[in-house]
């Protein structure tokens, strides 16, 4: 979403405009879900936290500073809520995606992929998930993580390389 449109929708949202809120939900739900899945490693928890994060952001939208990106702010809220949940459950950081129950009928290769994803460093995994969940756009990843486009490219390329090594180590790339 371009920043001018985002700004307008946020301004409308501040005035309690429902369609604008729904539009922001539609535009950012994949991003929020990717961040929470990246941190929590479990799609059920990710869905719960993503829902809380979206509702919190829309309720507190008046707290968004002028000039601040709604997408980046929303990701920060999501991150904080995820960290709160992780702390609350005192879950081992190693658990992550390896234990994640997947959606219906796991396709061939997904289990290995999830296992490899779980072993990626956090920032690599979040960047990869953001990229594939949020329109395959490096600009969206840059906005969500508050880093430059060049840094996104580097992070994605390192993440892909590392993922490849992990998948090869599992010995099932074909």
């Amino acid at each position: 979403m371009n920043s001018a449109l985002e700004k307008k929708l946020v301004a409308l949202c501040r005035n309690g405009d429902r369609p604008a809120c729904a539009e922001l939900v539609r535009a950012y739900s994949a991003r929020v879900f990717a961040v929470s899945l990246g941190i929590l490693g479990n799609s059920h928890d990710a869905e719960d936290v993503a829902q809380q994060a979206l509702l919190k952001a829309l309720t507190d939208v008046h707290q968004l500073r002028n000039g601040q990106s709604f997408g980046a702010w929303l990701c920060k809220i999501t991150r904080n809520l995820c960290i709160d949940l992780v702390r609350e459950r005192r879950r081992s950081t190693k658990a992550r995606l390896r234990q994640a129950p997947t959606e219906k009928g796991t396709a061939k290769g997904l289990t290995e992929l999830e296992s490899a994803l779980a072993r990626l460093p956090d920032n690599h995994r979040i960047a990869l998930l953001l990229y594939y969940f949020d329109g395959r756009s490096t600009e969206n990843v840059a906005d969500a993580l508050g880093i430059s486009g060049a840094a996104v490219h580097t992070r994605l390329s390192r993440a892909r390389r590392k993922l490849r090594e992990l998948l090869e180590a599992e010995g099932d790339t074909q």
């Binding site: 371009n2 001018a4 449109l5 700004k7 307008k8 929708l9 301004a11 409308l12 501040r14 005035n15 309690g16 405009d17 429902r18 369609p19 809120c21 729904a22 539009e23 939900v25 539609r26 535009a27 739900s29 994949a30 929020v32 879900f33 899945l37 799609s43 990710a46 869905e47 829902q51 979206l54 509702l55 829309l58 309720t59 008046h62 002028n66 000039g67 997947t102 959606e103 219906k104 796991t106 396709a107 290769g109 997904l110 992929l113 999830e114 990869l128 998930l129 594939y132 969940f133 395959r136 756009s137 490219h153 994605l156 390329s157 892909r160 993922l163 490849r164 998948l167 790339t173 074909q174």
Partner: protein, 626 residues
Amino acid sequence: MKNTCRDIQRLMPQLMRGTLSGEQAAEAQGHIAECPLCNQYLQALESDDRLLTNFAQTMQPAIARLQDQVTDELNRRTSQRLGGHISTWTTIFKSRITRLAAAAVVIISALAAVRHFADWITVQSVAFGDMKKAVDKMRFMHKILDTNTGGKKHHTERWHRFESRTTLSKYAVNGKCHKISSLNYDTMENVVYDPNSDVVKIVYRVDVSDDLLPDSPWSLVEDYIKGYERQEGTIKHKKEQRNGQAVDAYYLTIPSDFRKEKVEAELIVDQETHLPIIYKRKFWTRQGDLRFDQLIRFDFAASAPQDVYDLGVPRSTTVVYDAASKQLFDEKKKLLRDKAVYEQQLNQIYRLKEGQVLRHIPPSLIEPRCKIDRINRRIRQIEYAGSEILNCKTSCRTKQNTNDDYFTMFRWDGKLMLVDSRPIFREPVSLRTAFERIIGLSSFQYDIPDNLRGIEIPGDWVVRKGASKQQKLRTFETVLQDYTKRPIRFEKHPVERDVIVARGQFRFKPLQGTYDDSWIHVFSDKLDPDERGGGTSASTLDRFLNHRLAKQLNQQVVNLAQSTEDEVHTYGTHISSYLCNMPDGPERDAKLKLLLENFSRQTSVVFAEERRTVDVWDVIAEDQQK
């Protein structure tokens, strides 16, 4: 060799996305075809890409569920929760008592911010990022603008409040108060006092963008400098002492060219705080006369006037509320909201897939674009009506198109870009329009048989930015075959044609007595020094001859003349230089001869008409051949 493989592997994600330039992609593909290691790596990457895409797809139901749940929850929350929360606050904020209380809080917090800011700057080890944060805390900016435009002296004082996004201004011409106003950029509520009518008007601004106020004093310095970078100006930076104060001095210049006047500016920024102190700028006319001389002084006071009454508007003045502008404002707001929804739909429908270079959007799918066009037209009408209300006719006065059946071409560069601000095809795209406007060929580069000239393809078009003509032709061929259900092919054939060949060494010799002696004037009759018709084009000799002149003459131009490759000149193409629609014959020949002689006089380049073999694209319908 290892390095090459690493470089190519780095480019692979872009190669897979199809975002590499044609040259880079060709180089990478060439390497991959020969290098088994890279080939294997690319296959592995593609396999991972598929796995991750599948993984993202399996999560789509969860995301869809999430959207539904949040939207339901939002709808469930009655006005006492979300909307009510906001409207209650809006009511509280709007009350007079709260406004006064808020004003007091703002002043106190501004003072606190300045103190806080002062603390920051005395610390030697302060990090740059922290400094920026401290500067961002500044709430007010007082700008004093003195402008001399020859006959008139304008004096403006403006107080910007960054957090509440409001501006208070007092404007005087030749010492006499002309206008006092306040504008809230969030609500676009404009309070205007005109001393002549002695009335305070509350008007809703629909004629200006709501992005005019800088976000912070910090962004102001950045914005000034970026403005010069965008216009390819020169920026010189010096550390200086002014009145015993260490400052950063930026000397900014934009040289004169065919469009812009000469601009010189000086931006003085406090070295410690990074806040602007003085911004001076001067514009010159093309004749070298000083047209605009402005001095802006910045002051970051801890307090500022609260409203127009603090700036001298008598409290007894009648206040008039303009309901018509409010109605327009609300309508524009609704239209913008609708437009955002249609833009989302448009992006979904019109997007190009990876590797796709050209797409035809059939009329059945162009509805979101038509709706956006209608909304844009209405917004332009509203903005124009808004400017009439304020008597500041700054908005678009262009004649509105009312016909919705126009078709549009977009460029795709990862996002959709409209090629023109208006729909560009007045009728469904014919083969001729497609070759010239979509593919980018000149009329002498293709040949369409008469019986195929009538083919028309209604609908919109999306073209990938940077795609080659060859790629576009191949895709257009498929679109045409699908649409007409006929085996129509495009084939390149060498043919004998009269072409114009340019030779010699390019040396610019200005023509005296024209309205701009720095231009190269292209004309085929006696030059009228007052003529302002025709267009201008700034480019290198090669580009001008091959692209512009060839189109104007409807004849291929082969450039063999020697010139400095990056030497850019402005070419003034006068009306008499457009020979493309003249039938062949002695009259055209005479005009062409005169045009080329005029060009030679100014450039030393000599021209000759020669018979040469050139490539022409033929349109062939195989069913008719049989």
